[in-house]
């Protein structure tokens, strides 16, 4: 799949993710650090948004705020019409479980659960499927990412690429509308990274909204839109046609 086939025009005029002047300040011994400095961002359904920037630009912080893994200092965050900024950690967790799947650079798999159990875990928490359905769905997802034959193994027995595929399968467990990936290819070689990005593109083509953080320019070009962060601000936006926002 390449960018030319992506329909960048949102099918739903309402943004799926809507950020209004989001600020995040970290306080430490050395003083306060403003990681996000008034971010305004809209992400529409079906978009494959890539977030780039140098180290310390605020990419991961932005992703954490959007997914509810962290709370903003100020500003509004709307996800699928729900005011995430007003939700407590519990409700944010539940929203995340149902609406979002998160993929991390270091995979973050639970080492004492098998491949299959890692995929089932989010379904267990969300309690949307019966036990039998959870297992069937997990096997299906593992098939989709081409590692079903490793279902009974522990994550440590898989290669880096296979672990990231597993992480993607886990992220898809509850059929989320939004898939968020923070440096998903950071720990992978180029061939494996390409394969992983292919999966993300497929998912985007299926109508899911994909939000990916990367500092790899080649990978960044695979998205339908790219924003660049610098010192906590969006300094550049680029759509697939090549025109600037």
């Amino acid at each position: 799949m390449n960018s030319s086939t992506v329909n960048s025009k949102p099918s739903d005029p309402e943004p799926l993710i809507d950020l209004h002047h989001v600020v995040k300040v970290y306080k430490g011994l050395a003083g306060s650090v403003t990681a996000l400095n008034g971010i305004d961002l809209k992400v529409f359904q079906g978009e494959f948004l890539v977030v780039t920037g140098k180290s310390g630009s605020g990419k991961t912080t932005l992703v954490n705020i959007i997914t509810g893994l962290d709370r903003s200092t100020s500003g509004d965050i709307w996800v699928a019409g729900t005011p995430l900024h007003r939700l407590g950690p519990e409700k944010a967790s539940r929203l995340r479980g149902k609406m979002m799947g998160v993929v991390f650079q270091s995979f973050e798999l639970l080492p004492t659960l098998t491949v299959l159990q890692n995929v089932i875990l989010p379904m267990d928490f969300a309690q949307r499927y019966s036990l039998r359905e959870q297992r069937q769905r997990a096997l299906y997802l593992l098939e989709q990412v081409d590692i079903v034959e490793h279902a009974k193994k522990l994550p440590a027995a898989l290669s880096g690429g296979q672990q990231q595929r597993l992480a993607i399968a886990r992220a898809m467990a509850n059929d989320p509308a939004i898939l968020v990936a923070d440096e998903p290819t950071g720990s992978l070689d180029s061939a494996t990274a390409k394969a992983v990005i292919d999966i993300f593109e497929d998912l985007a083509q299926q109508g899911r909204t994909v939000l990916m953080v990367t500092h790899d320019k080649d990978i960044a070009k695979r998205g339908s839109r790219m924003i660049t962060l610098l010192d906590g601000e969006i300094v550049h936006t680029e759509k697939e046609e090549g025109s600037h926002a």
């Binding site: 011994l29 962290d70 639970l110 089932i120 928490f125 036990l131 467990a173």
Partner: protein, 802 residues
């Protein structure tokens, strides 16, 4: 099929076996200690009471100077207030335990050994009843006279008749003070054997059970009625006493032990709580990242909390599986040991269900409650923070005054000496202050308890010293009847090695209360005051000792005020002596045990009011030699000389013997304390091991950096071992200070239970230094394994660690 979250719990439990074993052991040790204490307390409290009740214990005893027969016994049995009565002959004889060395022995004579109705005696081993011209020895007394069943012993009666007798068997007589504690052996013969010794037939002791034996006041009235009946029948009553209902001999020692066990049980509980909190905090620290992941994939706090609560409960269950059976065995062993000590057979060793249930509740509920705070604290962290890639610290070190104290220009000497690794260890110790605090609390409590045990032991020794140091003599002889004091002293001084002598009067007395009721039997000792250097003031708890010009002054034991609460220093006390009432004034109390109430008064006054001027009931002597063997030899020589001059000697006691007997009583308590101290030290050590393991795990990346910049394996291990030792030393320091009030509390509790007053405080320096050595060893050991594991990881492994 289980849900994956429960698979995670199971896999976490059994996947890391070392951690699971450590956590389970930490919980199990505390539960084990609690189980032993709860169960042993229950077995002892109930079992000993049942055992004692089974012997038909007497409400009181009346001794007559003249022998009486079955007719009088039957008349006592027919009294309405008497439920049951029995009679025996009681004789204080001497037995030769080694050539030339004699010991007092109390010999009982029963008419029918198969029909003993009160204070029952039973067969333990060998013949029953004792055959003619043979003797049974109480089972606990065999070791006291260094003999066995079948041995031949030489027994001498007060009428000077000596006979060789075979020990035909052992008897079990739990109504007597345990011989190994009292130092007095007991023997049992028939009236035929008594006749063989040249003594007449007849009883001289009545043992009665009142109709309502649980009522002590009533029991005392009944005993007084029996005494009055005996006196009206023409018998002289030199002794009568009322027993505490249901209380076995040495009950106050037992109560002291039970009190200690209760205290140690509570302490174990607290230590367990701290250990669990520390362990769970450490566990959650290890699992922080995974908790973040579970939150990231949609896990709610309640769901995640549920998982870890189940894990903690599982640890509790595993700990209970270890602790309950071991605790039961330990409780039985401890109970049996104490029963042997008190010379009792426990009728039941059943572990009370309540103790098991309480252990279960403590084992399951307490870890959950203790874990809630660390759970809630850790679950409050955002998922992002929980999953943040581990760095070599969060940059918080250096913020507070402790950190600043340990760094920078304060440590100018570090520039001159090669102590960087020590500095690193010391600073590392203070990086996680909350974990350090929890570990320190556990270790400090263990330290304080261990040191306090030694302090209590030293205090017991000081107390015994205080109790006998007022006897500035080497031996005390009591006579079978009063003799002229001048004669016995003159004769004593003719014996080689005897350098000084003094005498006293001793007789039984009873307090007459304002309502005219009488107390149980007490003893009055009337030494000469001021004329002799052989008696000094005892440790005075309140008021003063006697003065040479005192007339009706008395000094009473501190424990008396527990039984007679209306008395106090400065108040009058009316004592009935030889049937007449005399008024005295209490001028002071002394530190004394509750083993018999002994009241001291001035010889000159007491002899005058009792018409006994110039008489002596006992003789104190000082010997030239001071070693135990020589004192004993000279005392024996003195006894033989006095016997030859017609002075009948009932008992001979050396002060070394008295000290040894007093210390034997306390030894059981000290042994128990030591066992518990070792357990608590173990709990503390496990806590430290857990902390150090987690410290190593958390700083694995840091270890990689140390190795990457050239630190050798030994250097890496050294940092952690020194850190462990630093924690141990801190706990020793804090524990040595906490031991001061803790020891005071223990002294107060123990002394109060046994003597009505605190033990004489003493701080044991040997105990302090011994614990220092132990804690350094424990700390190094607790840190060694995690440190060694850390030093063995490759640099690549640790830097790739997530």
């Amino acid at each position: 099929m289980l849900k994956p979250r429960w698979y995670k719990v199971i896999n976490d439990l059994f996947g890391n076996k070392t951690r699971t074993v450590l956590i389970v052991l930490s919980m199990a040790v505390g539960l084990f200690a609690i189980g032993i204490i709860l169960s042993a307390r229950s077995i002892l409290s109930e079992g000993l009471t049942q055992s004692f009740a089974s012997i038909a214990p007497s409400s009181g005893t009346v001794r007559t100077a003249e022998p009486f027969d079955e007719d009088f016994l039957e008349s006592v049995r027919s009294m309405d207030a008497v439920q049951q009565a029995d009679a025996r002959r009681s004789i204080t004889a001497r037995v030769e335990v080694r050539p030339g060395e004699w010991k007092n022995i109390t010999i009982f004579v029963f008419a029918d050994y198969d029909d003993i109705r009160v204070n029952k005696v039973a067969s333990q081993d060998g013949a029953w009843p004792p055959p003619e011209r043979e003797i049974l020895i109480e089972r606990a007394a065999l070791s006291v006279i260094d003999a066995q069943v079948g041995n031949i012993i030489l027994v001498k009666f007060p009428n000077d008749t000596q006979r060789e007798m075979r020990i035909a068997g052992a008897a079990y007589d739990p109504a007597q003070l345990p011989a190994q504690l009292d130092g007095t052996p007991y023997g049992y013969i028939t009236f035929d054997t008594l006749e063989w010794f040249g003594e007449d037939y007849g009883f001289n002791e009545l043992h009665v059970i009142a109709t309502n034996p649980e009522d002590k006041d009533w029991a005392q009235q009944v005993v007084n009625r029996v005494k009055d009946k005996a006196e009206k029948s023409g018998y002289t009553i030199p002794l009568s006493m009322t027993a505490e209902p249901g209380q076995l001999p040495m009950d106050d020692v037992l109560q002291g032990i039970l009190l200690l066990m209760g205290f140690l049980g509570v302490l174990s509980l607290f230590l367990s709580i701290f250990l669990v909190v520390n362990t769970v905090s450490a566990l959650l620290a290890q699992q922080k990242r995974q908790i973040g992941v579970m939150k990231a994939v949609g896990g709610s706090t309640v769901q995640i909390l549920g998982m870890y609560l189940v894990m903690v409960i599982s640890y509790g269950v595993l700990a209970l599986l270890v602790a309950i059976p071991l605790g039961m065995q330990g409780a039985r062993a401890l109970s049996q040991t104490l029963a042997v000590y008190f010379n009792f057979d426990l009728l039941s060793m059943d572990i009370p269900v309540s103790a098991i249930l309480l252990q279960i509740v403590i084992g399951l509920v307490l870890p959950v409650l203790a874990s809630l705070l660390p759970f809630i604290t850790s679950l409050r962290i955002s998922a992002a923070e929980a999953m943040s890639t581990y760095t070599m610290g969060k940059g918080r070190f250096g913020k507070n005054w402790i950190d600043r104290l340990l760094s920078g220009s304060n440590l100018w000497f570090a520039r001159k000496a090669s102590i960087r690794s020590i500095l690193l260890s010391v600073r590392n110790t203070f990086r996680n202050k909350s974990r350090l605090a929890l570990t320190l609390i556990t270790l400090t409590l263990g330290s304080a308890t261990f040191i306090s045990v030694f302090n209590v032991r030293a205090s017991l020794t000081s107390t015994v010293n205080d109790m006998i140091q007022w006897f500035n003599c080497d031996a005390i002889l009591t006579f079978d009847r009063p003799y002229r004091s001048e004669k016995v002293q003159q004769e004593a001084l003719t014996v080689p090695g005897i350098t000084d002598t003094d005498i006293w009067l001793q007789f039984s007395a009873r307090r007459v209360r304002p309502d005219k009721s009488e107390s149980g039997m007490m003893y009055m000792f009337a030494p000469t005051i001021g004329d002799s250097s052989l008696i000094r003031s005892p440790a005075i708890a309140e008021g003063r000792w006697l003065l040479p010009d005192d007339d009706n002054a008395v000094v009473v034991p501190s424990a008396l005020f527990q039984d007679e609460p209306d008395l106090k220093v400065g108040k009058e006390i009316v004592l009935k002596v030889y049937g007449k009432e005399h008024s005295f004034k209490i001028v002071g109390t002394y530190v004394g045990t509750a083993f018999g109430t002994i009241i001291y008064s001035n010889y000159s006054y007491v002899a005058k009011v009792t018409d006994r001027v110039g008489e002596a009931d006992a003789l104190m002597v000082r010997t030239q030699a001071q070693d135990a063997a020589s004192v004993k030899a000279e005392s024996n020589a003195l006894e033989e000389h006095l016997e030859r001059t017609g002075v009948g000697v009932s008992t001979v006691s050396t002060l070394q013997n008295e000290r040894a007997e007093a210390e034997v009583i306390f030894d059981a308590i000290v042994s128990l304390l030591l066992v518990m101290a070792v357990l608590l030290a173990l709990v503390g050590g496990l806590g430290l091991m857990g902390t150090m393991s987690i410290n190593v795990l958390e700083r694995t990346r840091e270890i990689g950096v140390l190795r990457a910049i050239g630190a050798p394996n030994r250097g890496v291990a050294q940092v952690f071992i020194l850190e462990g030792i630093a924690i141990g030393l801190l706990s020793w320091l804090m524990g040595s200070l906490l031991a001061i009030p803790m020891s005071h509390g223990l002294n107060q509790a123990l002394g109060g239970a046994m003597m009505g007053v605190s033990l004489t405080y003493s701080y044991s320096m040997p105990g302090l230094w011994l614990w220092l050595v132990i804690v350094i060893f424990l700390s190094a050991l607790a840190s060694f394994i995690p440190a060694r594991n850390a030093s063995r990881l490759t640099v690549r492994e640790v830097l790739a660690y997530e």
